[in-house]
């Protein structure tokens, strides 16, 4: 009975009706739905990549550092907290210029960084006490999680920024 019902063309039509009904009910702004589309396509492509090649080591190691040091404020979804802590997903300061991101992790940030047109109230503390390897792993992890896709960061690149800010 189940198989028959699911393969039924009218049933399919009714699912469509239900889905369209639901999407009308959900109130999402244009930006939100844009992000969602990007997320889906990004995570879809990430999945294909992953099935073809092994998950890089920084993903697991970086996740451990993230869970201990970053997750409470930036959240497990990388979406941050509206008005308080900035998101990490789909943002220029995470996905763009590597040195800026490394510098924020090393030195913290309390200047009211503008992310996607919003400022955020909380100060980010410096994480200079983490090793170059931990910082490389965690920055690479956030650049390749939550739908993000960007080149990983190496411990050498962290050391260069660390030496420059001494």
């Amino acid at each position: 009975m189940k198989i028959r019902l699911l393969s039924h063309p009218l049933i399919g039509l009714m699912f469509l009706l239900l889905v369209s009904c639901n999407s009308e009910k959900k109130k999402s702004t244009e930006t939100e739905s844009d992000i969602k589309v990007q997320e889906t396509s990004a995570s879809a492509s990430a999945k294909t990549d992953e099935s073809q090649q092994e998950v890089p080591a920084f993903m697991e190691a970086g996740k451990t550092v993230y869970t201990q040091n970053c997750l409470v404020c930036h959240q497990s979804t990388g979406s941050g907290v509206p008005g308080l802590n900035p998101p990490l997903k789909d943002t220029k300061y995470v996905l763009g210029e590597k040195n800026q991101l490394i510098s924020i992790v090393l030195n913290g940030s309390n200047k009211g960084l503008v992310v996607k047109g919003s400022t955020f109230a909380n100060a980010m503390p410096p994480f200079a006490s983490l090793s170059n390897e931990d910082i490389a792993n965690v920055t690479s992890y956030i650049r390749n999680s939550f739908g993000n896709k960007a080149e990983p960061i190496t411990p050498e690149e962290v050391e260069t920024v660390r030496a420059g800010t001494k």
């Binding site: 109130k27 979406s79 109230a121 100060a123």
Partner: protein
Amino acid sequence: MTKYLFSTKNFIYITCLSLVTLTACKNDASDKTENSEAESNLAISSNNADLTVPEGFGVIKVADSLGAARHIAVTKDGGIYVKLNQLKDGKGIVYLQDTDGDGVADSTSTFADYGGTGIYLTNDNLYASSDQEIFRYKLDSDQKVTNPDSPDTIVTGLINRRQHASKSITLDGAGNIYVNIGAYSNACQVESRTPGSPGMQPCTILDSAGGIWKFNADRLKQTYGDGTRYATGLRNVVGLDWNTQNDKLFVMQHGRDQLHTLFPDLYDEKTSAVLPAETMYMLNEGDDAGWPYIYYDQQKEEKIVAPEYGGDGVKTGGENANDPVAAFPGHMAPNALLFYTGDMFPERYKNGAFIAFHGSWNRAPEPQEGYMVAFVPFENGKPSGEYEIFANGFAGMETVESPGDAAHRPTGLAQGPDGSLYVSDDAGGTIYRIVYNKK
């Protein structure tokens, strides 16, 4: 395949399903249906605007998509002033009116060129705050603003360092205005939110923030030197109200964050998700609620020395600090407090406290909690029972993993002239009106 398509059983099944589908659609589309029980023609939502409220209560969705709607005030004619945290189309206050009496706003005007949280209405004046100033507008006999572009500046130069910047306000009916100046800090550590960093000794933030300041409600251009620090040791207050029964100021404090991430050896993740309490204080002039030196543990019912000041999670302290009059689980962010003095709700609600909780973020990785409006019954100006959840379902989902996912977050409360309770939401920009309509 063909044989299934035309089988009678299948046909009936499909017809039923179609009807169900269509009905579901219809309900969604016509959110407002008239409630035959109500005397008025209030457009009470058939599904209470997706909220859960006690039996006999109904919900009207007054407006939505207003922007970051913070505190609200309702006039004697039912007009609603809404303070926006960020400007929308260049304006920071929205005035809503319902001209046809169905409860749904059908007329909107906007003014003010600053964002902020606080708004308070008297017979003759509307007070509103930015994150560093308090302004006053004059009202006509209908409580409509007469000088939208040229308000008086009552207080200026209040500290705003982004963190805990909102300046909530209330008046005492004796010509004084009270404003929260939140501490620009989590726990007054030397290095903000840094594991191992000790607390400042003494915490100098308390000189200009971390308390409630009192000013004259009618004098122009006052600043710190013109006011008094009414109460100190309050990390951040967003919800506050004057209790007219015992003539006292009551405030809701947002307790500190991050016990686990800052002190993993003393607090595990689960403990840190519920501690410390969000606290309600009754304040007299000169009171000290103890931040940052202590926090309140609602499970032990004790004031505990903060780990930044030598605490170990057990050691008690703050002998001279106020005890809270009510305590709630941690991190739920109480953003509005209202003592209900209306006649519409059943007798047990009279003079009790409604509290709008914004919902947590600092419980992560535990699921988030507290996207709701709570009620605490009061007798003679004191809580007479445990808190209960009055209105829930704002987030629009069973489990909230992250606050950005929540559809609505309660932020402001106001009482209407008929005793309706209004709730604002700064995520979806919705204004709800909760009425009691049981005979």
